[in-house]
Each structure stands twice: as C-alpha cells, then as structure tokens.
C-alpha cells in the first residue's frame, strides 16, 4: 500500500478548497489513499447547511481573480464539494474534522455534511498520516 497523501485544510475560501479538492481527486485517481483533516474555516465550510454557499476567495484574488474563477464556474467546473464526492467514489479518501475546531466553532457532528467521515484529534491524524507527505492549505 502506498503511503497516504495528507491534506490539512485550514482556509475556508472556495479557491483554496477547490485547489485542495483537485489535489484530492488527482491522488485518488492514482490509487493513493488521501487523508483530509479539516480545521478552522475549512471545517466551517463543511457544515451541511453551508457547503453549497459562496465562500468567497482569498484576498489576493482581487477583482480580476474573481473574474477568472467565475468564468471557470460558468463554464461548468465542478464545485469543490462535488469534486470531493467524486474523489470519494473513486478511491480511498477519508475526511476527518479536527475536534479542537469543532469545539472552537461550536459545531456538532450532526451539523456536518456527509462528506465528513468523522471527528478526530491531531494525534490520530498523525498516526494515520504515517510516513506520507503532509500538505497544509
């Protein structure tokens, strides 16, 4: 078994979540297991009632960047949530919520979108990460 790719998602803007979803789906298509750990604002974006909302873009996007992102959406680009759903269908993708962030944001497990497989602490995250790369987004 390949070592997993481990993505820590911190940012909750659509551009960063989209980039993370692309990395996840690409690894899944290669047969690499992927562990995704949701912290802070990324976790907030995975609330069931918020996942399909507009989460804005990173500040560096600016007006011109927003134009490019909007054009890609209009052309039919799959949302980051849909990209993650396809990645999960395709391969071994485990998405876990950070328990500290759950407390911080006052989120219950029942508030989360079904994309999220469970809640864990950082120790479990590192244990599952093994010798695989850790990427922070």
């Amino acid at each position: 078994m390949d070592e997993p790719i481990n993505l820590v998602l911190f940012s909750g803007t659509d551009d960063k979540l989209q980039a993370a979803a692309v990395l996840t789906a690409g690894a899944a298509a290669l047969g690499k297991p992927v562990n995704v750990f949701l912290q802070y604002w990324a976790l907030d974006a995975f609330r069931a009632e918020r996942i399909d909302r507009d989460h804005g873009l990173a500040p560096e996007a600016g007006a011109e960047g927003k134009g490019h992102v909007d054009a890609l959406r209009t052309a039919g680009q799959a949302s980051w949530a849909e990209t993650l759903r396809q990645a999960k269908d395709l391969g071994s993708v485990d998405i876990q919520a950070c328990s500290l962030s759950m407390d911080l944001l006052g989120i219950e497990e029942s508030d989360l979108d079904p994309l999220v497989d469970g809640v864990e602490g950082v120790t479990a995250f590192y244990l599952n990460a093994g010798e695989g790369q850790v990427v922070f987004i």
Binding site: A25, A29, A75, G76, A78, T83, D89, L90
Partner: protein, 84 residues
C-alpha cells in the same frame, strides 16, 4: 462484448468525453471508466484540458495502464488506453 475475442483488434470498451472539463475531471472520469472494462480492453478519452498530455502519460505510468495512442486535433486531445 461477446464478440471481443473473435476480433483481431480489441474494440473500444468505454468512451469518456471530457471535453470542456477542467483538471482533474478528465483523469477522474477515466479512472472511473477503466474500472468498467475488462483487462486488455480499450478506453477512448477526448479532453481539452491543456494539462492532459502530461497528466495522461503520468497517470498511465503510475497505474500501469498502457497509453496506446495519443493525438491532438487542434485543442482536442484523444487518448486510447488499454487496461492492464
């Protein structure tokens, strides 16, 4: 599919039209499609994502599937992949 064994060239077992889809969807859809065909069967993919040439080469090398054909017609790439 019953006639497959009697043919000299394996026919296309599945087609993926990924034209207009951005990265990584052409690869994701191909990875899904390849699971639907038997070992040795062919999958044809059409894509317009400019990263496709390098991505399909890399994906085939990594997964062990064989890139039988690749061609570009203007902005459309065509790949034929044999499942390992």
């Amino acid at each position: 599919m019953d006639t497959l064994e009697t043919m000299t060239e394996p026919e296309i077992g599945a087609r993926v039209d990924a034209r207009g889809l951005s990265c990584p969807m052409p690869i994701v859809k191909t990875a899904q499609a390849i699971k639907t065909v038997a070992s040795g069967a062919l999958v044809e993919v059409l894509a317009t994502d400019p990263g496709s040439l390098k991505d399909f080469t890399a994906w085939c090398r990594s997964t062990g599937n064989e890139l039988v054909e690749q061609a570009a017609d203007g902005t459309v790439y065509r790949f034929v992949i044999r499942r390992k």
